[in-house]
């Protein structure tokens, strides 16, 4: 069993990054995720593992530092919250285009604009549909616990390097701030430069005599060449959609109705299941863990077995579009959402199920 600690989600993801062998963190303070950089600065990993931690002048700079580090094969990460992630869209698009691995943690807050510092899930579209320009996707992991904040840091780096693509942990202010028991995995040593060069032959590390020079870019001025770049990206996305879907089903075996929810909303729905079942309503929960790739087939399967689905989100209705696309039109699927930083209560969610789906 790994080391047990009581930690905030923000601290857990930072500690896990050090343990995963991360080479560099670049970030800019913003609530509700500033503890990530604060924790890293306090831990001084540059004295232990050699990991670089740098406070940049902006999120624009942070994400471009990420691009620079990733282009040389290093294991790099940044973190921010909604307004800062908006500034990072440039770099995300460039990294997707140049096929670079990187981990971004988004501890979301309510918007639009400066919005609020309270938790929200209103950045689902931005994360899963490609918030920057061009036809790209990034893998999006949605943690529902402090444990998953830690686990997904490691998983995120693995997926980023496996597919050479940016990966986002789409968390929220509550998961980032709340404290829970977490079991930490054992530290993995940072790769040496020689190991990196052997494992990442595509990385710009300095040209030896016996290989061609390496160019990291997303530019191809020739339309045919740029189409080839796009086709290659799309083929990679199809592979990811085939192999990397992750989800969880709770109490779905005998369920007549299901909640579909991710992250914090899924945690709330777990409590709602208890309340509903005590009333004799057979409900379950389907929780997408990867928001991209989205569990399309699994939702389609489930849709054949149940009488209705309530998509619970802390936004005005975003993931519901993907649920409806997956499930088709024959089933009753409605959305229940609170936004602006309001967290729905479990009994309120049960009432929504009764009013909008069962009785509606």
């Amino acid at each position: 069993m790994g080391e047990l600690r009581l930690m905030k989600g923000n601290e857990a993801v930072a500690e896990a990054a050090i343990r995963a062998g991360c080479d560099g963190y670049f970030g800019y303070p913003i609530t509700p995720q500033s503890e990530i950089m604060e924790y890293l600065m306090a831990m001084k990993p540059y004295e232990t593992t050699g990991m670089v931690v740098l406070q940049a002048e902006s999120e624009t700079a942070s994400v471009n530092m990420l691009y620079g580090g990733a282009g040389t094969g290093k294991m790099v990460m940044t973190s921010s919250s909604s307004p800062g992630i908006s500034l990072m869209q440039e770099g995300i698009s460039y990294m997707a285009g140049a096929e670079l691995p990187a981990l971004l943690v988004n501890v979301t807050r309510g918007g639009p604009g400066l919005g609020t510092i309270q938790p929200s899930q209103a950045d689902y579209f931005q994360a899963v549909k490609g918030g920057g320009h061009g036809d790209y996707k990034m893998i999006v992991l949605a943690p529902a616990s402090v444990q998953e904040m830690a686990d997904f840091a490691k998983l995120g780096f693995e997926l980023a390097f496996k597919y050479r693509t940016p990966v986002m942990i789409l968390s929220d202010g509550a998961i980032g701030q709340m404290m829970e028991k977490v079991e930490l995995f054992d530290p993995i040593a940072r790769r040496t430069d020689a190991e990196l060069i052997a494992q990442c032959p595509w990385a710009a590390t300095g040209k030896p005599k016996n290989r061609d020079h390496i160019i990291i870019t997303s530019l191809d001025l020739d339309p045919a060449g740029q189409e080839r770049v796009n086709l290659k990206l799309q083929a990679k996305y199809r592979q990811i959609e085939k192999d990397e879907v992750r989800y969880e089903m709770i109490s779905c075996e005998d369920a007549e109705y299901v909640f579909v929810a991710f992250g914090l909303s899924a945690r709330i729905c777990q409590k709602s299941i208890d309340i509903a079942r005590a009333k004799g309503i057979k409900v379950g929960l389907f929780r997408p863990i990867t928001l991209y790739p989205f569990p399309v087939k699994q939702i389609a399967e489930l849709a054949k077995k149940v009488k209705g689905m309530l998509v619970v989100e802390m936004n005005a209705g975003q993931m519901i579009e993907d649920v409806r696309l997956a499930a088709g039109c024959s089933l009753k699927i409605e959305h229940y959402g609170r936004f602006g930083g309001i967290i729905p209560a479990p009994d309120e969610v049960v009432r929504a199920m009764e009013n909008q789906i069962i009785g509606g």
């Binding site: 080479d23 560099g24 740098l54 471009n64 620079g68 770099g91 300095g206 030896p208 160019i215 870019t217």
Partner: protein, 270 residues
């Protein structure tokens, strides 16, 4: 046949006095004939070859006419988003401290959209080299006004001349970064004459020598022509540059070994 042999004969080693460095890829440059970019590429690559740094250098190219610098420079390179080269270089140098890292940027890239990245990389005293090609115009996008465009200078977005009342003043980025404690060597050079080219090459050498000692930023501005954007012949453009650019952007060292060596730049007269 005989003619070919005669040619080869002339190419005998003892006859060669000047040739392309192996650090430049053998392909035509994408620059307009007469443009200063190609000359700076050559000086940079010759320096790296002479210092034996090909396998230890990672370069960052900008968005601008030199966006394709990575196609010509035979070293590992990353192409940055517009203005962000200093951010990339910061991370690269911090995670590969024994590599030699440089950015190569135009005036729009370095002094407009990338102003924040430039100033903060300089202010943190990152240990890399910045090469700044100031041609007073946005060459790549077709000759629009740049932050460094001179007062009254005509560009496609200042077709009646840069009116400083409306369009603001040209930015002396080099004097500005020289004020920051994180810069160690700051100089302004040119490549319009053989002697200017030699001085630029010496400056580049000094900048890379500084990297060995982790001294902070070495910042080399090269005042250069954009004959196409300025709508002149290469010869006219060099003359115009001497008469108009150099008085406003005087050549020479501004900071050596961390010490300012010239009085503060003169203010703009309008």
């Amino acid at each position: 046949m005989e003619e070919q042999f005669a040619k080869l004969d002339i190419r005998k080693n003892e006859n060669i006095v000047y040739k392309r460095t192996d650090l430049l890829v053998d392909r035509p440059l994408s620059y307009c004939p007469g443009c200063g970019h190609g000359t700076v590429h050559r000086m940079l690559m010759e320096t790296l070859e002479e210092m034996g740094l090909q396998d230890k250098t990672i370069g960052v190219s900008p968005v601008g006419c030199s966006v394709l610098a990575y196609d010509f420079m035979n070293i590992d390179m990353l192409g940055a988003a517009h203005g962000r080269a200093p951010a990339l270089a910061t991370a690269i140098k911090r995670m590969w401290p024994d590599r030699f890292v440089f950015t190569y940027q135009g005036d729009g890239d370095l002094a407009a959209i990338g102003t924040a990245e430039t100033i903060h990389a300089c202010n943190r005293g990152e240990h890399f080299t910045m090469i700044f090609i100031n041609n007073g115009i946005y060459g790549m996008t077709g000759g629009q006004m740049a932050p460094t465009t001179l007062p009254n200078m005509r560009t496609s977005t200042s077709p009646y001349g840069r009116d400083t009342n409306i369009m603001g003043f040209p930015l002396k980025m080099t004097e500005l970064v020289a004020q920051l404690p994180g810069t160690y060597y700051v100089t302004r050079q040119a490549v319009h004459t053989p002697s200017a080219v030699r001085k630029t090459k010496k400056a580049i050498r000094k900048a890379f020598e500084n990297q060995k000692n982790k001294t902070g930023i070495s910042f080399i501005e090269v005042v250069s022509n954009c004959n196409s954007g300025w709508k002149m012949t290469p010869v006219q453009s060099n003359k115009w540059m001497e008469e108009n650019m150099f008085p406003f952007y005087p050549l020479g060292d501004i900071k050596i070994d961390g010490v300012l060596v010239t009085p503060k730049a003169e203010t703009v007269k309008v």
